[in-house]
């Protein structure tokens, strides 16, 4: 497996050297980072070049990195407070519609689109991560003309994350309700949602109202620096460098 990845990485270096922003290897998988401006060109090369031959786009996935590394319970120092009192509200599961979760201050762009490619001809896979340059209005060129399977996946990423795909033939919401407001998979969208629907016997119709259920996430989000994985992480960073 690793020789195959070596060959693929070398091939990518050769064909699209100028467009590569970064190339990482972990868990026997290759991740390529390119900029949004280069994406279409890179995609065409990846599909048409016979040595690369990525004939199938398997998956497109939006990611919101705004809460990356956020925890609710400190693990490195001990406190005099008990478990539940020590928990800070920090993730979407603990908030309801009239509160806004704290937005983390990150230097990196907030949204990314991750593509998974598969070559049936050569039996290898590749992951491409592209960050959206603008956090307020995330946009990405559409890959529908290169791989038709991108169509619904891009609609899904638009629906759930609000990422606009320029050049998409039919960019409508796909999974959420007709007339839905907001993008539910963003990290500042509460887990319980904003509105609920019920039948109102007085008005004799179905109405929307603010949610009445309370957030009920029981386990705090915790990051523990585990010594068993520290060595691996150090090795990986040195291998990248």
């Amino acid at each position: 497996m690793s020789e195959k990845l070596d060959r693929l990485a070398a091939c990518l270096e050769e064909k699209i050297r100028d467009q590569i922003r970064g190339i990482h290897r972990a868990c026997d998988e290759l991740t390529l980072e390119v900029s949004a401006g280069d994406l279409l060109r890179v995609a065409r090369t990846l599909r048409r070049d016979p040595e690369l031959g990525f004939d199938m786009l398997v998956d497109v996935c939006g990611v919101d990195y705004s809460a990356y590394g956020v925890t609710e319970w400190s693990t490195e120092s001990s406190t005099a407070e008990g478990f539940s009192r020590g928990v800070e509200k920090a993730t979407f599961g603990r908030f309801t519609f009239d509160e806004t979760p704290p937005v983390s201050q990150r230097a990196d762009p907030r949204f990314a689109v991750v593509y998974h490619l598969l070559s049936v001809a050569h039996n290898h896979r590749l992951r491409i991560r592209v960050f959206c340059e603008d956090d307020e209005f995330p946009a990405m060129p559409s890959l529908v003309e290169v791989w038709n399977s991108a169509n619904w996946f891009e609609r899904e990423a638009f629906d759930l994350f609000g990422i606009v795909f320029n050049g998409h033939p039919d960019l409508r919401r796909i999974l959420t309700d007709y007339g839905f407001v907001g993008h539910p998979f963003r990290k500042d969208f509460p887990l319980v949602g904003h509105v609920e629907m019920r039948y109102d016997p007085e008005q004799r119709r179905v109405i929307y109202q603010p949610v009445t259920i309370t957030p009920r996430v029981l386990v705090p989000r915790v990051i523990r620096k585990d010594h068993r994985h520290l060595d691996d992480a150090a090795e990986e960073t040195s291998a990248d460098a």
Binding site: C27, V120, N148, W152, R173, I174, D177, P184, V217, V219
Partner: protein, 417 residues
């Protein structure tokens, strides 16, 4: 002369042939479909978002409810993602059990598909035949996990518990006489493995029965041959996987090409279609059932000969046994931490794909080092297949749309997530 216009037809969301909650807006020219616009999401439950708010193990049950016709294969994809990120490998016996249940699940899925697909096209008997065999396999689910459908049986590091030594028995009741019960319990007297072995002996004959009813049936062929033809190039371009891709003649099966668990030790063949129409996809799936039967048989033989652990002996991931927990302080702490906080998965990302009965099912997992996943993306095969319906149904008659929906083998739990 009056103006002739296309009209739109609403198919579903509550239609028996829509296989769940599919709303299909069809633009018709007479009885010919010009455009099909599936409206999905009526079963959207936000599984991925829910999984981000829970420790890893608590989401295994959600995976069952994605494609609720092939429960354990979904679990396999999710559990494998966690295992790869943590760098652990389950014991060999657990991997054999997983492969065996993956294949049992494949037969379960294909039986349901065959029964309902034939029912949609007009063959009532198939439905009854298929559900007869499904019953036995669902009993295997019940014996191993206590649940007939949503098993939650696979765990990171192995499976929840070893295969049971006894099968659940039928009891005498107002509806079942002692003679009936004796006959029904005949193949249930031994262990679960004996029961499955008995099933694998019987099953090929049953598949022959299905084929006698359908394969050369004139009506069945009239309804399926030449319907929804997909060329291999278009199949790749539209992202079709699994039997949909193999029906078009591309020999692509993750169990062979990128083997996981112990599939590389199994002896089986990949059936491939020629014309890429609904009939070829039917033949591919029926042959897959026979091949799954072969794999199950190999697993049964191995499992009978090789007892051993089915879960990792690492209490950072797997809970310690109950007895140990009562006597040993360390085990009690491990148990408490696992069930109140879960385990932290090292930072990284992984894309773990399995050959699902419907196609390539994958879980893309991003971890930032916490006890909950940062992002879980499920790659549902049915979602992609349904997006190809528009192209496949153009120019066909309205009744063929029903054949096509059946031929796609879609389940809304995974499409809407």
């Amino acid at each position: 002369m009056p103006e002739i216009r296309n009209y739109t037809l609403n198919f579903g969301p509550q239609h028996p042939a829509a296989h769940g909650v599919l709303r299909l807006v069809l633009e018709m020219d007479g009885e010919v479909v010009q455009r099909a616009d599936p409206h999905i999401g009526l079963l959207h439950r936000g599984t991925e978002k829910l999984a981000e708010s829970k420790p890893y193990n608590q989401s295994i049950g959600y995976m069952d409810r994605l494609d609720y016709m092939s429960m354990m294969v979904n679990e396999h994809g999710y559990v494998k993602a966690i295992e790869r990120l943590m760098g652990i490998e389950p014991p060999l016996r657990a991997q054999y059990i997983r492969v065996m249940f993956d294949e049992i699940t494949r037969i379960l899925n294909h039986l349901l598909w065959l029964g309902t697909h034939a029912l949609d096209v007009g063959a009532m008997t198939m439905f009854l035949y298929c559900f007869r065999e499904r019953e036995d396999l669902i009993d295997c689910y019940e014996a191993v996990s206590g649940s007939r459908m949503h098993a939650t049986y696979y765990r990171p590091g192995g499976v929840n518990r070893d295969l049971p030594g006894t099968m659940p028995q039928y009891q005498t009741s107002r509806w079942k006489s002692p003679a009936d019960v004796k006959r029904l319990n005949e193949n249930r007297s031994g262990s679960l493995l004996d029961f499955i072995e008995d099933f694998t002996n019987r099953f090929p004959t049953h598949v022959d029965e299905y084929e006698i009813l359908l394969t050369d049936n004139r009506i069945w062929k009239q309804r399926t041959v030449g319907i929804g033809v997909v060329s291999p190039e278009r199949a790749l371009q539209m992202g079709l996987t699994g039997p949909m891709l193999r029906g078009s003649g591309v020999a692509w099966d993750l169990r062979k090409k990128q083997p996981y668990a112990v599939y590389d030790r199994m002896d089986f063949d990949i059936p491939v279609g020629v014309n890429g129409d609904s009939y070829d996809r039917y033949l591919v799936r029926v042959e897959e059932m026979r091949q799954s039967n072969r794999i199950i048989r190999q697993c049964v033989d191995w499992l009978k000969a090789n007892p051993g652990p089915v879960m990792l002996d690492d209490h950072k991931v797997a809970p310690p046994p109950r007895e140990e927990m009562k006597a040993d302080m360390e085990s009690l702490i491990h148990h408490f931490k696992l069930y109140t906080e879960g385990y932290c998965v090292p930072e990284g990302e992984v894309y773990s794909a399995v050959e699902h009965p419907k196609g390539e099912f994958a879980v893309y997992l991003i971890s930032d080092g916490a006890n909950k996943p940062y992002r879980v993306k499920v790659r549902p095969p049915g979602f992609v297949h349904l997006s190809a319906l528009d192209e496949m149904s153009r120019g066909h008659m309205l009744a063929d749309v029903v054949t096509l929906i059946g031929s796609l083998d879609i389940v809304f739990g995974e499409i809407d997530r």
